[in-house]
Subunit: 407 residues, 2 copies
């Protein structure tokens, strides 16, 4: 008899975005004349940079003639892209990462979801709260948690990110083996300083733990003192894997390209305590279960590193940061506590009430859609996330409406 | 301490293609004047159909302006593609598959590799020999096998595909729960009749087993009597998942698009014997660990179903089948036993000697590269695979050289 992986049955159905959609639809039906402004989802709205479009077209045309046609590429990505990544995203910042330590993929969601396959079943896992749900759900599916009780999975060490710790979790009291961190953070928009990140790297080195560092929002960092990559921290190459994406940096959410960095000296342990390089394990997984990213997409991603591409992606991030600044000003004027929006497209706002009540108030009084923080974990209750991914005009209009309605 | 998934250590390093590359390089060094002709790997060489190129360009340009830009798409694929697939690949053949039973992905390798996550650890798995190694390796990684002993993993039921059974394995004597089948077959090029496929569907229904049917080479079927999809068989929707790909049908090996069909009534069982729909389990996996296929790539795939696209993909398959016929004629003339090449781009040839000896003979006497059958499993010993993926000119030249050298 073919039997299922019963761990899937532990997963909680997420009604977050369907609940939002239902409330929005009901409001629109009662108020057909109001133009609803959506600042909820984390999806970009601006077109691809022209440098990427031009490179994309050129590569598509290469696929049209036998002489320049490309079949299967290297599973790890083409050298032209891996070399551009290593030089621009790492070596230019003093982080000694080589091209063959980069694995190009079709998304950071896939990579952050699949990476847990490399580890044994009985490791102790630390996951922030609030959090991007993929880290948690993929470990539930793999059977590394117990049941879901009182809003949390048993067996997981939750790292609370709260106002008290400025949304950078403290080191766990119990010993953990695998640590998920994301900075600039989704959903809070908070950042981590070099000194704070060093405490995590030191913890990992001391406890033979591994850090999975999700830096998908790196492009939004403007504070010169903040680390752009975990490999700016001494010793991180032995204990950290980093995930990056072109989704937010170049508008690739619908185009699909990302990458993962696994330094050659980054290791985990076998049952005899022997060091096992994670680079070769991930390479084996990548070659067995993945067949590389579409060639024209890799050429479009490479264009991010051209002179025009660098200027255009910087402008793209600045466009959204301009919106985030508008949101921050409005929240300041309204007297709400908030964090984020300076080095991040997200602003995390405390409304002094239940997340959903806050959500409903914004929708009903101003026709503005946000995301209730409770959808990201227990520590998100009381908060909402406002996203900067929309046009200047719509964000300005939304903030004016909020100020008129709430002040 | 962060510990690894020790099952990865059971994996056998595959030296097949690197061994081939070494022997080819050595031969070339000794014979610099000889133009080596490669009929080894299963990668296409002809450009993308013009209909796909045009649709690809159009969609790239849509990404260049805000009004037509697309961000995150549905993880399952856009409706335009899923509907075209359901109508053309299934309903047109009398197979009642609906658009929402199709999951678009970036490759059949990914899907055939990932699907095993849905099942419990202790199922009994049947895998053909010779075989595409992904089916086997992904189950090794997941811990569903024992050690590798005498060329085979313990705990797997191997389905021998031999001359005696015309390369269509017989039903297993012991009861199995999960069955991998691939027709037209890689590497043998053999096909399965409707009656033979029905015996497998009946077996699965009787034993509450599930069939994973890999139909990546469906486009090459020319024999009117052969089934194009397993859903042409009555009752298959309850017990079979089918994998398809544009890699070979439209030259997408470097462009990346494929799909998996999971009918709504296809189920596995929970530990209480309750039926659990695999559609919802896979949907959960797909939404958690995957973020959809690149939008322009989906538009290029959709163009396969336009009138021009249908004509051009048919011509593309015919081009390679013309080569396969040349290979068959040459092998006939040389007096070798062979199978495949009529409804498949692969010809599977018995040389009456060890696979690697046969490989060396073709390389040294004719400068032609093939793939030694032993690389696909124990039953492949004595055989080589010759691929039709090359130009008419090169295949003709290779066959002439073989005839001159060996007859």
């Amino acid at each position: 008899m073919i039997t299922i992986n019963e761990h899937y049955l532990k997963l909680q159905a997420s009604y977050l975005f369907s609940d939002i959609a239902k409330r929005v639809a009901a409001f629109q039906e009662q108020n057909p004349e109001i133009e609803i402004i959506k600042l909820g989802i984390g999806d970009v709205t601006r077109p691809l940079p022209r440098a990427c479009i031009d490179a994309f077209h050129k590569a598509v045309e290469e696929m049209a003639s036998e002489a320049s046609f490309r079949g299967y590429g290297p599973e790890q990505g083409y050298a032209f892209l891996r070399e551009a990544i290593a030089a621009n995203d790492f070596q230019a910042r003093g982080a000694d990462i080589q091209a063959d330590e980069i694995f190009v993929s079709d998304g950071a969601k896939c990579d952050t979801g699949n990476i847990q396959e490399l580890f044994s079943q009985d490791i102790k896992i630390a996951i922030p709260d609030p959090v991007y749900p993929v880290y948690l759900d993929t470990n539930v599916m793999a059977g590394r948690t117990g049941a879901y009780v009182d809003g949390r999975y048993q067996g997981i060490v939750y790292l609370d990110s709260t106002k008290e710790n400025n949304f950078v979790p403290a080191l766990p009291r119990e010993k953990v083996d695998l640590i998920y961190l994301c900075f600039p953070n989704n959903p809070t928009g908070s950042t981590i300083s070099t000194a704070e990140l060093k405490t995590w790297v030191d913890y990992a080195r001391e406890h033979q733990a591994l850090i999975l560092f999700d830096a998908a929002y790196e492009i939004f960092i403007r504070d010169q003192s903040l680390p752009h990559t975990i490999y700016e921290i001494e010793g991180a190459k032995e204990v950290a894997i980093e995930f990056r994406s072109y989704s937010k940096s170049a508008g690739f959410t619908g185009t699909r390209c990302a990458y993962t960095v696994i330094p050659k000296e980054c290791t985990a342990y076998d049952r005899n305590g022997g060091r096992q390089p994670l680079h070769s394990l991930w390479n084996r997984r990548h070659c067995t279960k993945f067949n590389g990213v579409s060639y024209p997409v890799q050429r479009a991603a490479e264009a991010v590193y051209s002179e025009e591409g660098k200027t255009q992606t910087r402008e793209l991030a600045d466009y959204y940061l301009h919106n985030a600044a508008s949101v921050r000003r409005a929240m300041q004027d309204l007297g709400f506590f908030f964090v984020g929006g300076e080095n991040s497209p997200y602003v995390w706002i405390n409304g002094g009430r239940d997340s959903w009540d806050f959500f409903d108030m914004l929708l009903n009084k101003a026709g503005v859609v946000c995301t209730p923080g409770a959808g990201f974990g227990r520590c998100g209750n009381g908060y909402i996330r406002i996203s900067a991914f929309n046009s200047h005009e719509k964000v300005e209009k939304a903030m004016k409406r909020l100020k008129d309605a709430l002040s």
